[in-house]
Each structure stands twice: as C-alpha cells, then as structure tokens.
C-alpha cells in the first residue's frame, strides 16, 4: 500500500528567482526503485499557487500466481474506475486501523468455572445450603417438594398481610404520612410547614434514612433481563418496600446483576433474606444479604 506524504514547503524567494524563467512548469515526476521499494516523486501546483511535492512510497511484492490470475491483474479498469491511476485509489480504498482478533480460549472459561465452583464446594462443606421447604441439604429449587413453594409463599404473604395490617396504625401515627389523608378531607391546601410532620421534619428525616439503611438488602446474581417490577413482585410479599434500586448499565439499560431493596422494617428485610436467598429465579440462584452501609 502506498503511503503518501505531502511536502508542503513554500517556495523560498531564492527558488522563485531560479524558476522565473519557466513559470508554471514543474519538475518532471521521478521514479526510483531501490530494492523492493519504489518511490514516486511528483510535483503539483494547487489552486492557491502553492507547489506540492508528493512522495509516494510503494512496496513492490512479487507474487507467484496462476496464469489466469496474472492475466486478470493486467486488465484495464472500467466503469467508475475507468480513469483511476494504477494502484489503489485513495477515494475508494483505505487501510484502516489495526484490529485484532480477540481470542476466547476455553482455558480461561474453564478457570472461571473452577473459581465459580470453589465457593460452592465450600458452601457444601459448611452445610450452608439448606432447603427452606424440607430443610434438606440441597437448593430450594431442587427440592422434590418444590411445587409446594408457591402455596408456602402465599401463606407467608397472608401472614405478613395480617401482621403489617396490625402494625400499620401505630407506625403510621409516628410517620408524617397521615398528613395526606387529612389534606384530602378538607380539600384545602396546607403548606408543608403547617402539616402534621412539619414541626419535626428535622428529626424525622435523618433517622428515617438510617432506618432505611438498616432495612436494606443486597440482591446479587440477578439475570440481565431483570426489571424493577420483577423485583417488586418478588419482594412485596415480605413487607412494604420503601425503595428499589436496580443497578443498570448507562448505555444499554440492562441490569448489571445486582439490586438494593430497602424495606420499611428490618424484620421484613430479614425475612426476605431468609426467604429469597438461594431462590432460583430466571435460571440463576439469587444471593441475598444485608447491604453494607454506604461510606457517605
């Protein structure tokens, strides 16, 4: 492939004097062949009257080819390329940046698998894997009584529904939430400062935050297709959720495989950890644990 260098040197006054006699004529193109490098030097005057020296360097490669191929190499160009000079035309042919084939070796995959398997073995040794249904030494999803999981979850939900219903009232009175119903009753606008919670906003905001942190669980090993609504469905039975944060890729919007779920109450969160950890979801086994308090 030719590499083209433009020698954009302005003619110096000395050169101009020299060339005064034959204005407009250019030195004739030169072609030198040194070994397998061919250098073609051409001169050109562009629209601004600037003189250009164009140096093209070619690498000459001699290849042996069959007669038919050699004959074809000498064919005249035609169609839109009819007036192209010999050699590749820069308008249609360019050499692009280096690219490399990225190899995916199975060895790497195997190593990755080994690493994946090791913690599993450890878990087995410590007998952490215990079925939530029959308390056996296997994953809940592999439980022979798996079909009863659904009913069990429902039961759980019912229990929770009762318990949350009981506790809703006292909890509600402590929180600034009842301001809204009051507002709807009167139909009058109440400025935030005059609302029920308004007087103790300063104290209620901060502790709430901390409570959130305490009742937050981290769910990992989610599949890429998981959406917030899926998580909501999955965790709603355990108690009221205050916040769901699903980590997503900025560009693609696909899930990064982990999420934080904040419950209103810590007991609900604990129950969610007990209930969903090891739960097979979308062909992956979910890992649920307490979220570590964030540094800031």
């Amino acid at each position: 492939m030719p590499s083209i260098e433009y020698d954009d040197s302005k003619p110096s006054w000395a050169d101009q004097v020299e060339e005064e006699g034959d204005e407009g004529t250019l030195p004739s193109p030169k072609e030198t062949i040194k070994g397998n490098i061919k250098t073609v030097t051409e001169y050109k005057i562009d629209d601004d009257g600037k003189k250009f020296k164009i140096v093209r360097t070619f690498k000459i490669e001699t290849r042996k080819a069959s007669k038919a191929v050699a004959r074809r190499k000498n064919w005249k160009k035609f169609g839109n390329s009819e007036f192209d000079a010999p050699g590749p035309n820069v308008a249609t042919t360019t050499v692009s940046d280096d690219v490399f084939m990225t190899f995916i070796s199975s060895k790497e995959d195997l190593n990755a698998q080994d690493q994946d398997e090791d913690p599993m073995n450890k878990l087995k040794g410590q007998k952490i894997v215990s079925c939530r249904i029959c308390k056996g030494d296997h994953w809940t999803t592999r439980c022979p009584y798996k079909d009863t999981l659904g009913p069990m979850q429902k039961e759980l939900a019912e229990q929770l529904g009762l318990s949350t219903g009981d506790k809703e009232k006292p909890a509600g009175s402590a929180e600034p939430e009842p301001a809204q119903p009051a507002q709807s009753k009167t139909g009058k606008y109440v400025p935030p400062s005059l609302r029920d919670g308004g007087t103790r906003r300063g104290e209620s905001m901060q502790p709430n935050r901390r409570a959130d942190d305490n009742a937050t669980i981290r769910v990992t090993n989610l599949s890429e297709d998981t959406r917030e609504t899926d998580l909501q469905e999955l965790f709603r039975p355990f108690g009221s959720i205050s916040r769901i944060y699903l980590a997503k890729d900025k560009n693609t919007g696909q899930s990064k495989g982990f999420a934080f779920i904040s419950f209103h109450r810590r007991e609900d969160a604990a129950r969610a950890i007990a209930g969903v950890s090891g739960f097979g979801y979308d062909h992956l086994i979910l890992n649920v644990e307490w979220a570590k308090p964030s540094n800031n």
Binding site: M1, R63, A65, S66, A68, V69, R72, K73, W75, K76, K77, F78, G79, N80, S81, E82, D84, G87, P88, N89, A91, T92, T93, T94, V95, S96, D97, D98, V99, F100, M101, T102, F103, I104, S105, S106, K107, L110, N251, T252, Q254
Partner: protein, 325 residues
C-alpha cells in the same frame, strides 16, 4: 491485522463474493452498482453500471468470465467480467433475490420475490442457448407458492439448487425437473444466507433465529449448530481450517437505538467441530450483512450495513491458535 477498507458503495452491502481463485472480490449493495476489487490490495478494478434498483445478489462463474447480478429493479443481468459490458438483461416481474452460476458456468439460476401479486419463482436459463436469453424464456421455472426463497446456492455437480426459505425451510430443487428432491425444516425463522464449502459437499445456513447450521449438501443431514444471541446474517466455512465465521447483529432497524458495544457487530469465529466460539473481530459500525472466506483461507472479508467492505488478512496467531477441548 490491518483491514483494507473498501468504500465503493453508498448504501449497505447486500452480498460479497470471491471468484474461484480469490483474486477478485465482488460486492453489491442497496445502491445500483456492482463493484469488483483486487483482493490483494483492495484496488478497484471496475464497476458494473446499469441497474436501477438495489442489487441483492452477485455471482461469478468458474473461469471469471461472466458475472451475474440480480436486483430489485426487476431484472437479472449478465456482465462481461473484464470489460464491465452488459451481455444480457433478463426482465422479471418482481425483485431478483438470489442468483448463481452452476459449476460449469453454463446454467444460471435466479429466484424472484413474492411481491406485487406475483409469486416466488426459481428460474433456470441455459446460456448455451441464446434463444432462451433473447426470448427471456427460462427452460425451467419453478413456482414456490408458500414461502419465498431468501437464499440459494447450487449443489454439487449442478444437479440441484439448495434454497432457504422465509420460514426456515430448506429445499433441494432439481435443476432438470424442478421437483423438490428433499425438504427439511431445521430453522424456525428466515434463512438469510447459504454458503457452500469449497468442494460443495457441505453448506452452512445463517438464520434469523440466532443460529447457523451445517448440513450435508446431498442428504441435507444436519451436522452442527452454532448458536449466538443475535440474528445471523451470513456465515461462511473456512476452506483450510475447521472454522466458520458468522456475521450478524441486531436488525438494521434497531441499530440507531443501541450502542455499538452491545450491538454485537463483530465477526465471530466458531470451531466447526466443537461448535464453540473462539474469536471475534471488531470493525463495522453496524451489523455485518455478508461474510466470505478467501478460497485460500488466509483472509476473509465482511460487508456491513455501514456500507463498507473490509478485507482482513489473518495474523499468524490465527493459524497457531488451537482450541483446547
């Protein structure tokens, strides 16, 4: 490797093909010209001008004398490869989707789209009989009423044409009687591309159902399956290694809404026997519409929705690489 970038088209590439020796590379696109390039340095030899619609397919005969192109301007044209002159114009009722020379270079086949009230036909012309061309009267015309042909190649010995259909079916049409010799349905969606091996004994299909499959040409026995997560637009078999290359990506209409990073626009190399992916090559800005191996197996080319054709000469690592099984 430093790919050679060929910018001869203004629209997306529809098909690229090497001639038998591999010194020339033909490319056609959704614009109206067909280009021919020297594969060794990417120099453009010429263009075949005349079509007035998107060109869907191109083929070259064994001695690189004639070139056949089929276009959406409802015509199939025969060109003199050396001079770019149009030798014959075969008008049809609907767009020509696939075309091909049989190994002798004497018989051509092309298929037309099911379109504008016309059904899909597979037509056969014998070039030795000028009367057929003059009268535009094929010696054999096979109607395919149900599902149109989306890709087709000649089978071994010029006995039949292997055609892939819109619904994923693969049929063998006899070139003598037109009857369906064998019929299979291994794919669930449209077959985008069929490419035979050098000796024509096996072929690979690329389908919209996210997979490519290897078949035996004569018996249509299913041999191997290569799975990806995106529709496969094209697949080719390496002539010297047990490799296949696949090009694809999500559908062209969805390109603008996704970033290139997750578009999976790479050419993907699979081991033919283990059905395992072992390498990827990036480069195109859109899905790859067509891939082709050089007949010597030392380079391959890809044509993309971005309108570029890229010729890649493999690095030595490619030949040294061995997949650990």
């Amino acid at each position: 490797m430093k790919p050679i970038l060929l910018q001869g088209h203004e629209r997306s590439i529809t098909q690229i093909k090497y001639n038998r020796e591999g010194d020339l590379l033909f490319s056609v696109a959704k614009d109206t010209v067909a280009n021919v390039w020297y594969s060794v340095n990417g120099e453009r030899l010429g263009t075949y001008n005349g079509h007035t619609g998107a060109v869907w397919c191109v083929d070259c005969d064994w001695d690189t004398k004639n070139v056949l192109t089929g276009s959406a301007d409802n015509s199939c044209r025969l060109w003199d490869c050396e001079t770019g002159k149009q030798l014959a114009l075969l008008n049809t009722n609907s767009a020509v989707r696939t075309c091909g020379f049989d190994f002798s270079g004497n018989i051509i086949m092309f298929s037309t789209d099911k379109q504008m009230g016309y059904q899909c036909y597979l037509n056969f012309f014998d070039l030795r009989d000028p009367q057929q061309i003059d009268d535009n009267q094929p010696y054999l015309s096979v109607p395919c009423s149900d599902h149109k042909i989306t890709s087709a190649v000649w089978g071994p010995l010029g006995e039949f044409v292997i055609a892939g259909h819109e619904n994923g079916e693969i049929n063998q049409f006899s070139a003598k009687s037109g009857e369906v010799l064998k019929k299979i349905k291994e794919h669930t969606k449209q077959i985008n591309d069929i490419q035979p091996s050098v000796d024509l004994t096996i072929f690979i299909t690329a389908s919209k159902d996210n997979s490519a499959k290897l078949f035996d040409s004569t018996s249509l026995d299913h041999i191997k399956t290569f799975k990806t997560e995106r529709p496969v637009n094209s697949a080719a078999i390496s002539p010297i290694m047990d490799h296949v290359v696949m090009g694809g990506g999500q559908e062209a209409m969805e390109v603008t809404t996704t970033s290139t990073r997750i578009g999976k626009f790479e050419a993907r190399f699979f081991h033919a026997a283990y059905e395992e992916e072992f390498g990827r090559v990036k480069g195109h800005f859109g899905p790859i519409n067509c891939v082709a191996f050089h007949p010597d197996g030392k380079s391959y080319s890809s044509g993309g929705e971005d309108g570029y054709t890229r010729i890649h000469y493999f690095d030595p690592q490619y030949f040294d690489f061995e997949l650990e099984a």
